[in-house]
Symmetry: C2
Subunit: 407 residues, 2 copies
């Protein structure tokens, strides 16, 4: 089957074939590259992201990003974080809270200042520079969470700090996005920003503090009373979507709501819910990972000026997070500080969303947009191998096997 024939099928096959064909192309390419990378002792997650690059506009052109794939990707990262949440106890997160707060604050401040500074020195306008700084702020926790979960490392101290810091980082990132968006529109309403901050922090604190206790009371009753098949799973799904919706209204990302939904259920739902949720996660995560790669457009990086800027921004994005977050966790010793620093590097879909908003507000130009997307994809690609090195010796595949049924 030649490539041209295949592209033709995708573009002009009968209507009924489009959905299964799109599912087949994305899922199969992600899983095949996953397998190939594992065979050469490279992280499979990198293979899945690169699958998106390969089938995407940059290389084969079989697939372009579209609304349906974007929705599957978003559901994928929601389930991924829900599944990770099921392995995390709220009390553990509260314990590491103070250090995580330092990690998050320094991990936001250093990248923002560095990103802004580089763009200013490069001669870009003030507001565009501020937007690039904002795009370098938010960590995409999905990638790190997937690596840590697959390697059975979620119970390590560094992993818990990464997860807690990612929640705080997300709140800070969305506040900064709200601030720079109002700057771009020319109207900064301090009262509104303060209200947003209060809502976001209030929602997160309430769920973390009282969610687990509440679910410990509710879930056993549900188990006794409901008659529908797999009622506990249905209830878990409803909580997942409900907290995702509430999170967005409270000014936090939907995936943080999904993570919190998993976490408050961690001590009350049984193995069956974990297995069923694992099925949905396994099915959807390739769409999230390949979806990141799909956005990369190498053609925008055709001139050397842009390539140089991209290299600078990428290096700044990596080192600023590593150093900022590492500094926040330095009290734990260099090994854990390095693990935390590396774990916070990926920007993934979050950086791209900020760049898209900047573009839609007319303050980010085409070449800077391509630079931010490259930064987002590349930070996501470098993190899994770095995590492998940083957590060397701690991996517990047998435990992961037990919990996630890998094998």
């Amino acid at each position: 089957m030649t490539l041209d024939y295949f592209a033709l099928l995708l573009a002009s096959g009968p209507e009924a074939v489009k959905l299964p064909l799109a599912m087949l192309v994305v899922f199969a390419s992600a899983k095949i590259l996953d397998e190939l990378f594992e065979r050469f002792h490279q992280p499979g997650i990198v293979g899945q992201i690169l699958a998106g690059v390969v089938i995407g506009p940059s290389v084969l052109g079989w697939m372009a990003p579209n609304d349906f794939l974007a929705a599957l990707a978003e559901l994928g990262v929601m389930f991924l974080l829900f599944r990770v949440g099921l392995e995390v106890n709220a009390s553990d997160l509260i314990k590491v809270g103070p250090i995580a707060a330092w990690v998050a604050v320094l991990g936001v401040a250093v990248p923002f200042v560095l990103g802004w500074g580089i763009l200013r020195l490069w001669g870009e306008p003030q507001i565009e520079s501020i937007f690039v700084g904002a795009a370098m702020v938010a960590t995409s926790i999905g990638i790190t969470a997937q690596v840590l979960a697959a390697k059975g490392l979620l119970q390590e101290r560094a992993s818990k700090i990464i997860l807690a810091a990612a929640v705080i980082d997300d709140v800070l990132g969305l506040l900064i996005l709200a601030l720079v968006s109002s700057l771009a529109k020319g109207t900064v309403n301090v009262l509104e920003l303060a209200l947003t901050a209060t809502l976001a922090i209030g929602f997160t604190v309430i769920v973390v503090k009282w969610g687990t206790k509440t679910m410990k009371k509710v879930v056993p009753r549900v188990r006794e009373q409901l008659r529908g098949a797999e009622a506990q799973f249905a209830m878990a799904m409803i909580l997942l979507f409900a907290l995702s919706v509430l999170a967005v209204y409270a000014g936090v990302a939907a995936i943080i709501g999904a993570f919190l939904a998993g976490m408050v259920l961690a001590e009350s739902v049984g193995h069956r819910v974990q297995d069923l949720a694992q099925g949905v996660t396994e099915f959807l995560v390739p769409f999230f990972l390949a979806g990141i790669g799909l956005h990369l457009s190498l053609s925008a990086l055709s001139n050397w000026t842009t390539v140089t800027l991209a290299g600078l921004v990428l290096l700044a994005a990596m080192f600023s997070k590593f150093i900022g977050c590492g500094l926040g966790a330095y009290r734990l010793g260099w090994a854990d500080a390095a693990r935390v620093g590396v774990g916070m590097i990926p920007r993934g879909e979050v950086g791209m969303v900020v760049a898209q908003i900047g573009q839609s507000l007319g303050v980010i130009g085409e070449h800077v947009y391509a630079v931010v997307v490259l930064m987002s994809v590349a930070t996501t690609l470098v993190a899994p191998p770095l995590l492998k090195v940083a957590f060397r010796g701690l991996a517990k595949p047998s435990e992961a096997e037990e919990r996630f049924g890998i094998g």
Copy 2:
């Protein structure tokens, strides 16, 4: 929270909330009505379809059918049939083949003639009458399969005949659709139709006959060789989508490909794949069921002429399938013949698709379209309680519990 406020949120909430909110509204309403119906000893599946009617344009107006929900619904019915396929052995289907062929042929001929006859007597044009006949032909196996699976009845003789007949019925239905579509366009190419028939039958026979044997050789090798986590599940998903794609190109529905993918894997994959696939199925099936209800538009049934025609068509759709399929299976005795007849009644999404094609070709008018949709939804709603009666005494909930993990 008033209804208006809720509708407003759905229409104008922030962009990031739309996906989780749509998921929440559809999934939660389906599962809540499911639970309510089970509590009053009614089939939960009917509750889930009615949830779509309630949140849809006819009643609350919270949701309208859209591309994303349609895609989730199609994935849902694909996974449902894949999951059912995992419980069915190809050799069993081949054994019941001859009777199933009679069931399918008579179950196609009687509804077609009756549907066409009623519309002609009602004074509708020839081509519109033929289209309504065609819309009454194809059984939506998803509904019956879900009921039989949940009640642990898939191993009954009548269930196997229903599944085998549904596969043949689907091939016949798509051939008839191809024929009437070319009639509507004014060009009937006999050679092309014969080619379509050969391809469809050839594909199905090859997969049923050699698929299981091939997979018995391939799956153990995959188990030994692949390194990725949950590699067996990934391979099952790839086969699911690949056979769905091939099915469409061979002129069969994607869901039949999904069913065949499950069936050829039935004897080789382990429990883990069943559990993970069950997770995806549990997650997606509410979108399939509520999605059927979402299409019902009661406002088109505002005048008595249309309501009378709808009543006539509905009665004809029920009795013609019951009698046609029952006659095909009369050799098995009246009890099994009745079970088969009842199991083939639901038209669900298949009838609606035919009506939509008729509308897009300009041969089905608005009120006849509404009549066909009502027939599709109503046959789907009456089947589960009728199945309950027909299979009384055979239900094995404990077995279903074991296989599907219900409880």
